[in-house]
Chain length 263, copies 6
Amino acid sequence: MSTYFSQGDEVTLFERAHRRQLPMMITGPTGCGKTRLVEHMGERLGRPVVTISCHDDLTSGDLVGRFVVAGGDVIWNDGPLTRAVKDGALCYLDEVVEARHDSLAVLHSLTDHRRTLYLDRAGQVLHAPREFMLICSYNPAYRSSLKDLKPSFRQRFVTLAMDYLPPDREAEVLVAESGIDRPAAERLVRCATGIRTADQIFHLEPPSTRALVAAAQLIAAGADELHATQACVLAPLSTDGAITDGLREIAAAALSTDRTSTT
Amino acid sequence: MSTYFSQGDEVTLFERAHRRQLPMMITGPTGCGKTRLVEHMGERLGRPVVTISCHDDLTSGDLVGRFVVAGGDVIWNDGPLTRAVKDGALCYLDEVVEARHDSLAVLHSLTDHRRTLYLDRAGQVLHAPREFMLICSYNPAYRSSLKDLKPSFRQRFVTLAMDYLPPDREAEVLVAESGIDRPAAERLVRCATGIRTADQIFHLEPPSTRALVAAAQLIAAGADELHATQACVLAPLSTDGAITDGLREIAAAALSTDRTSTT
Amino acid sequence: MSTYFSQGDEVTLFERAHRRQLPMMITGPTGCGKTRLVEHMGERLGRPVVTISCHDDLTSGDLVGRFVVAGGDVIWNDGPLTRAVKDGALCYLDEVVEARHDSLAVLHSLTDHRRTLYLDRAGQVLHAPREFMLICSYNPAYRSSLKDLKPSFRQRFVTLAMDYLPPDREAEVLVAESGIDRPAAERLVRCATGIRTADQIFHLEPPSTRALVAAAQLIAAGADELHATQACVLAPLSTDGAITDGLREIAAAALSTDRTSTT
Amino acid sequence: MSTYFSQGDEVTLFERAHRRQLPMMITGPTGCGKTRLVEHMGERLGRPVVTISCHDDLTSGDLVGRFVVAGGDVIWNDGPLTRAVKDGALCYLDEVVEARHDSLAVLHSLTDHRRTLYLDRAGQVLHAPREFMLICSYNPAYRSSLKDLKPSFRQRFVTLAMDYLPPDREAEVLVAESGIDRPAAERLVRCATGIRTADQIFHLEPPSTRALVAAAQLIAAGADELHATQACVLAPLSTDGAITDGLREIAAAALSTDRTSTT
Amino acid sequence: MSTYFSQGDEVTLFERAHRRQLPMMITGPTGCGKTRLVEHMGERLGRPVVTISCHDDLTSGDLVGRFVVAGGDVIWNDGPLTRAVKDGALCYLDEVVEARHDSLAVLHSLTDHRRTLYLDRAGQVLHAPREFMLICSYNPAYRSSLKDLKPSFRQRFVTLAMDYLPPDREAEVLVAESGIDRPAAERLVRCATGIRTADQIFHLEPPSTRALVAAAQLIAAGADELHATQACVLAPLSTDGAITDGLREIAAAALSTDRTSTT
Amino acid sequence: MSTYFSQGDEVTLFERAHRRQLPMMITGPTGCGKTRLVEHMGERLGRPVVTISCHDDLTSGDLVGRFVVAGGDVIWNDGPLTRAVKDGALCYLDEVVEARHDSLAVLHSLTDHRRTLYLDRAGQVLHAPREFMLICSYNPAYRSSLKDLKPSFRQRFVTLAMDYLPPDREAEVLVAESGIDRPAAERLVRCATGIRTADQIFHLEPPSTRALVAAAQLIAAGADELHATQACVLAPLSTDGAITDGLREIAAAALSTDRTSTT
């Protein structure tokens, strides 16, 4: 089983929802570990994970399947959701808020007491086994009137709110994934924390743990800390000159102060 | 026959409409039991229920059927509406307000004195048997100029307005479905009632009976009452910090007051 | 021949238009009897009626036909309009204002001196027989800049403006269709007339004869008059609390006054 | 050759354009005789007329043709424009302003010195014979920023502006087409002239000669003059009560004054 | 080789761009001779010309080709752009501003140092031979925020700005193409020049040389000069009465003054 | 290996990202050398480059592949992204900001620790080999609310910000690519620098190195410097007369001053 750095009681909540056959909605900022939690729970519960990246163009046919022509005949081809139901898998709809709401209607009967998938076009009705669980995720920071999930849809799920790891654990992750030393990891985390705090001023998407890992990997490959931070953490945040300068000051301060203090 | 907790005379009204071959429109908030009523009436009247979840992308072809290629030949494939007409089933269009209005035009001749389904593409005309009944549902709280049902469409149906169960019966449902004890069920219902009352202030979708059942199930699985309420009842309502705090206060008060008073 | 309750000279006007091979446009509020007139004229003139419910998604291919693959070959499949022309039928386009205007272009050559249907894709030209007649209907109360019929389209038709039946005849219809007694029918009609008069204040779609018939049928099945009126006549009109209360007062007054005066 | 009532020198202009191989654009109000002129010129020049009713959904494939599957093989199927080019026909695009502008791009090379049709998908290039002529029509009264023809497109054509016939000739048409007597025809024309004059006030589409012919035919079938005028001339103009009343006064005056003066 | 009336050094610039393998963008008002220049250069350079009329519906598949079914098998069918690359032709995209910008992305690799066409769907990469040249044209007078070409796209081309011929040469063209005498040609050109000058006031698309040629041809066919000018030059410009009157005055003055002065 | 003129440490950063299996986002103005860098790195790392020009119409099927019919059977056809993953290629998505965001969702699992491509429709899961690298590019100057990349997407990449070459190196490129002499190259660069500086005033897309190379090639083919600059550098920038005049002054000054000073 791969190492998983837990934030709190999310593993327990997930297990309880799975035991009571309740679907789960995981919320949290980009790159805070939502996908990793699902992968970890799949290993822990001994169930396969079927991942579906949601997008505007995902049709209900893409989810449940469709008829295809093969060898001159027409046969039904299960979609990933149907396969997950049949296999009793954990079915993970990543960034569900990106999906067209009409594609989500097919999930309704799977998320209430029916736990049933209606394959209207195939003329079949599937009852989900106990092991099957539906998990969705989204980032509540992206709220727009057009794409916000319907309240009645959100009420169908047990909601698990995730956030960034606490600084200590985040530094631990950087060391484990890139091989840089602990002080350098702490400098990067301090830099991220500084920007996340300044976030209220800049109205930016805060830097993710994933971006910190990338910076750590460039450093491990020989890059200068400030350059690596610039390329992986600062540059993706904004292309506005003034903001970029402000961010660089925060980063430079965090990286050098820290270095002084740890040497 | 599964247990059904009735709200009033909805079963009688449904039976009369069925006897006089009138279509029915069920309105009411999310998760108040519309789907369960239809399932219950199917059992009671001894008719199969064909459920169709409506969405923007549902074409009239999805409802009535289409030609498909099979074994090199083209054959007509009945859609769920056509199958329901042929089987004398209860055909249930869930959240009909989500459907494109043009897809609904095919229902017109089924909802007046003709009780006829025109399959233009197949060149067939089907007369619905006495047993067939069309039921639609929608939540009138979701009114938008774009998606509101046309008045002339609504006038084609006998309208049944449902609401949440009274507190006593709602607690009864929680006990029956999750196995928690009666006082805990009452605490959860009191919590929901508090939020539903505060609804005028917060402008939120009020919590559904379905969400309460989910919280009850997490409690039955060992979760703390406040945490379960947070995950299943409060978190889906809003991601706005201030509102979330207000909701948590209401919930904490309802859960603790109640506990004190019942011990 | 089924009973038809005429409003005035609409049968004569229809016959004259048919004799002179002129197409007809029937206007009037929802459920005032447009469809029934066409069915009646079909019986009277001894011609089949082909009904097409118009909607946004109706293509000209749906009207005139298309090529389909059958047994490995491609054959032309007549649409309902083409079949109606070939059979000399009455072709009835219900709620024509709902159709996309581009789908209606195919009707132009059928509605002027040419009386010709060009099947461009099939490479055929059909001349309509004397018996063929095109009838369209729409409800002028639904006027929106987007969907209003083009004036040049409306000028292609003899226009027949229908309205609700006078109260006496409307009560006659209720008795004939539901079996309730005459005084109860009169109470329902008085109730409808009251709301139709109040219509200028509430800006609602007025209740249709069809909705009154449904209420009469529930009453015949044992329902209370006020409840039946609520479910079939009032509830479909509005979900706004204040308006609903106003409507219920009008209904209660009409139903009770009447009962007193007839006993 | 069918009778054609000419307005002025339109026949000469048409013949000159045909002789010099220039395309023609005919403008004028609805029902003023544009289609009849093209039919008449087809007879006069001894060329077939291919009519295409333009609409929003007309693709360039509908105009030039497409590949279709037949007997397991794929064969090219000429569209009406391609057939017209090959046959040296008069190709008439009725209401060209309704077509999507992108569908019209295929006409460019046919309307300049090239007189060539590029069938990109079929890989063919067709040179139009001398006899071929492209004619388009539209009603300039329907000007909207969205659908107005591009100036560069209009400049590709010789423009022929048509209008209603002068009263004498219009009455002549009514007599010829319906068989009513001359005084009645004159009353109808006076009525139309009155409304066309009042047009500046009412901002309506003025009544067409086609609508007058329909009224004349109802009169010939026994209808009262005012009723026939109401059904065929007034009712299509407006559904606004005040305007309708104003129109009826104009009509009643025109019909009665005239009757007095001619008796 | 057909006669070509050059405006200046456009032939030289075109030849230099061709020699250095640079793509060219020709700009200029409608009907000023852009298409004729490309045809002329094709003859001069001894290369075939492949013309593609751009429009909103042109897909990249229409440009590069697509798979089609033939004889039960699927074969790749080159589009006109692919054929032009293979043949080393001049590929002319007429009115490129009309094309959807996404269809133009396929041109990027052909318009920089790569001179390469990627046929992603066919899995092929084509290197353009030296002889191949891509030419686009558009009329900068049609600027709209929606359809303007992206600056980065325009920078990929050598830009050749064309305009109307000087009066003398334009009259020469009229004589050569229609056979009218020189004074009449000069009168027509003076008329056009007058309107082009008044263009700032009327905000019209100025009359093209093509429209003058059409007028000249009608005159050669016996039409009166003012009538021919009205039908081919004035009528396409506007349907607004006041503007039309203003234009006719300019035209009448230009035609008569001139006639006096030349007799 | 073709000559590459580096701007700074971009080659080193690229190599480090490749070694640590991190995806890269290259930003910079049009024609500053983004595409050339990717080609250069392909040669340097000994990996093939698969280029995909992004546009609005690019579907995820175009990226990953789709089922196609061949010889009566249905076979899976890899798209360029899938081929790049299988071949361990550098996969370059040019102007990724042009792509529909929903098409980009398929990239998520390739750009985090999973480095996995889910082919949902084919039912396959591909793990990218070490050699595979995903590179995207875009021009941050084109920012629009509709098309801006999501921050969470940008955070998945190491960002490399490119800009125009310094004047000396840009002149070097012009000499190398066109064969003009050094002083002429310097005059062109000075001209470009002048316009790029004036850019804040004119709000134009600044001229690219690519446009300067084109001008240099026309000069090498015998064109006058000012004419070549006009056709390749100034004309694509604007069609507004006043701006064009301003630009021409800057260009004339830069070209002549320079000439004087270098002679």
